[in-house]
Symmetry: C2
Subunit: 466 residues, 2 copies
């Protein structure tokens, strides 16, 4: 049995094993009392630790989907819960369902996903741009890239940043294999194990994991609907003198909130007072309606390092992102980039440069923004109708951060499972792994009938006392 | 003036500045006594340190190409050497010359280059494979990759390794963005700053730089024509107890030598006795005639980690390489890979998988091997005719390691410059930066008329006493 675990997903591995085993039982219509392969075999086959598989199986026993076998091992429960019998969940839209099961993040509608649904992807322009490079650009088919990245792409990126009022010279832009690679290069160049930085909470797991990989300690500052809690931030700076702040200025992941101009100015003021680097991660920039205030636009010195990506809009497969910083720092990062991977793919960057130069990328994100705006209005209404509490009122981007009226986490997940909806993990948004009862809701998935049914079901559950 | 410095080249930056300035003077026919931009301006414009530019200018003064100006700064010498006047070197073949000047490694025929010439690249199959993926494989256009890499590619790689007698399960193969990325992931996963490893000398600069980036100390073992000097290796192991040995088993960079089966067995025996990891870097494997002995094929435990790449044969632009290790270790490296860059490009890997599955890649490297064999015979003959000493007699791969009859380094470089030939830097093959009078000769460039002229010229210089 292959579980197709996605180690990059927000959903923790144990939860993915739970979902994968449930899906296997439901979709293959595995007969009750069927003996499962041993925990060891499942672990080995799927490159998992036995303890993770064991924990997942025990959760499934608790949910009545598996039963513990006398002696050792597990079997499918003799009496399966309703939602595990007969139905394969496809009533909610075969096309949609087919899409979901093809995705590596399996087990239902990815309501908490961090990217756009596959059904939103538009292959025509991208495919055309790729074929153009393949036909006509021999250097990009074969050669190593420039250390800073393809000049034509860096020029286009610098131009786009100009539209956000961010002054950028081409030589201040370094291309990377996505935003995580950019953050990794920043950490390798600027920080050392034991350093201490501030991160927002809630925040996104990949950043926390990367900081942990580098042995960098995290201080947590609460994210408010207008940015980080400034008083709390100043208290942290005074007490611990951290070297940097990592911040999502716009459409913060997971709350969807944007930095208010006044808060942005206060953050910069604090960065000057306390000699703080600010790493502004703005990967959802192109899904923003209007321009908004960027820290990199306000910065008059060299405090702000700005990170962007094309993985959330155009393609996660090409691996193209970038970092903007002072030319001195860019040169240091370029050196680390060259030594650690001989540079990024010139081919992929030539494709991006083509799409930016032709205007196809601009039109693509325009369409994505429009579609998201429509879905966001509908999703906010659906949540309001179902008595969910919403954090701020996002006006752009992918996310709504919301809390259901169902007080009990297990009951909420039960509703989700029955509706074929997969929620984010409760602990993945906290740097310290603390559980939280808010959900990250991806606007683009929230209008799916399964999500609607889920919201309605939660409304009919007993209300939470706020 | 733009110098187009290539930070990934074997040639040190100072040498590249020397070459770039010389080329500028020659090609632009800059009049004698023209004042150069200030060192500061040149450094700033080209993202270089002032000390590098200063050192390069001083070398050019020593060569009589620049003169030091009274006060400060430099000017083009009033009386330029012969080879800097009038000629732009294109008499040696315009097509060839055009190619060279388009490349990032400028300043002449890249006789010491580590890759095949651009004129050898074959775009048809690659372009076709790219267009196929762009047209028909939506998941590879858009999606994140599996943490271990695209399953179809890993399967093909495992099959190819089988042909080298290396047993590999798909789940023991991790794809990377080239061999440097593979080595970086190995170091991030297994080593820490202060650790001590053995490297071969001569060896290749990118490995040394990567180890330095990680703060890993290097012990040097001499490379002989049949592999590392076993006695010296054992002495190092006894005395310093290093944790790993980095080795090029076949077509060692730069000597072109291959590991003899007996030496391979001795290396493995030592690795068992002294609990040593062996990192076998075999990026020139596909340019090898016959199968040869791989350490990974002899290893019955988990001592050997094997690294491969498609950058030297198919394309340096796509950034695809891989590492083979125990599944446990692969899982740990996959985690570091995911956290530090969210995985490699699914698109690029799908292209590679297509070329491997169709047999187009196999046929490509067959053609490359045949062409290299012809050129190697001719190059060895030319070197013999010119009284060069050759290290071993390479029977495959890209390199010949050879020593000219011209004892004086400056005279040798003078001959090269006059013939439009660029030599590797004398110090780049030593971990400790020691100068050496052997040259890495890329077989594919050695039949160019400029190289032939260079060899003839060295033969007519006064002979070295060996």
């Amino acid at each position: 049995m292959e579980l197709r675990i996605d180690r990059q997903a927000m959903v923790p591995v144990v939860q993915q094993i739970v979902d994968g085993l449930t899906e296997w039982i439901v979709q293959e219509q595995v007969p009750p009392t069927t003996r499962l392969p041993s925990v060891r075999q499942i672990a080995r086959r799927n490159l998992l630790s036995q303890s993770c598989v064991m924990e997942a199986c025990e959760r499934l026993v608790a949910q009545g989907i598996l039963a513990s076998r006398q002696g050792s091992g597990f079997m499918v429960a003799a009496l399966l819960p309703d939602y595990c019998r007969g139905s394969n969940g496809s009533e909610a839209g075969d096309e949609q369902h087919g899409r979901v099961t093809q995705s590596p993040w399996r087990g239902g509608l990815k309501l908490g996903a961090g990217v756009l649904p596959e059904s939103w992807r538009e292959p025509d322009d991208l495919s055309y741009a790729i074929r153009q490079v393949a036909r006509a650009d021999m250097a990009s088919l074969f050669n190593y890239n420039d250390p800073l990245g393809l000049p034509a792409l860096r020029e286009q990126i610098a131009k786009r940043l100009g539209l956000l009022d961010i002054k950028a010279l081409d030589e201040q832009v370094l291309t990377t294999a996505g935003a995580s690679h950019a953050l990794d290069l920043i950490m390798r160049t600027l920080f050392k194990a034991g350093d201490c930085v501030v991160v927002e909470t809630p925040g996104h797991a990949p950043l926390f994991e990367l900081l942990r990989l580098h042995g960098i300690r995290m201080l947590e500052v609460r994210r408010t609907p207008s940015g980080p809690d400034i008083e709390a931030l100043e208290a942290l700076l005074q007490q611990f003198r951290p070297t940097a702040l990592f911040i999502n200025s716009h459409h913060h992941n997971p709350t969807g909130s944007c930095l208010a101009p006044a808060v942005a100015r206060q953050v910069l003021q604090l960065s000057r007072t306390y000699d703080l680097r600010v790493i502004e991660d703005d990967v959802y920039a192109d899904l923003h309606n209007g321009s908004g205030t960027r820290l990199a636009a306000l910065d008059d010195g060299e405090r702000v390092i700005y990170v962007g990506s094309f993985s959330k809009t155009l393609s996660s497969s090409l691996r193209v992102g970038f970092v903007l910083a002072s030319d001195k720092l860019i040169e240091r990062m370029a050196r680390v980039k060259m030594i650690s991977c001989m540079g990024t793919s010139r081919f992929c960057e030539a494709v991006l440069a083509g799409l930016l130069a032709s205007g196809a990328y601009r039109k693509l994100v325009q369409r994505q923004r429009q579609r998201l705006s429509t879905d966001r209005v509908a999703a906010l209404q659906a949540l309001e109708d179902a008595d969910w509490e919403v954090f701020g009122k996002p006006t752009g981007g992918l996310f709504i951060w919301a809390r259901s009226p169902v007080a009990d986490e297990a009951r909420l997940r039960g509703h989700a499972l029955r509706c074929g909806v997969q929620l984010s993990c409760a602990t993945s948004f906290s740097p310290s792994g603390e559980a939280c009862d808010w959900q990250r809701i991806n606007v683009a998935y929230a209008c799916d009938p399964r999500a609607r049914q889920f919201f309605r079901d939660t409304a009919m559950d007993r209300p939470r006392t706020f």
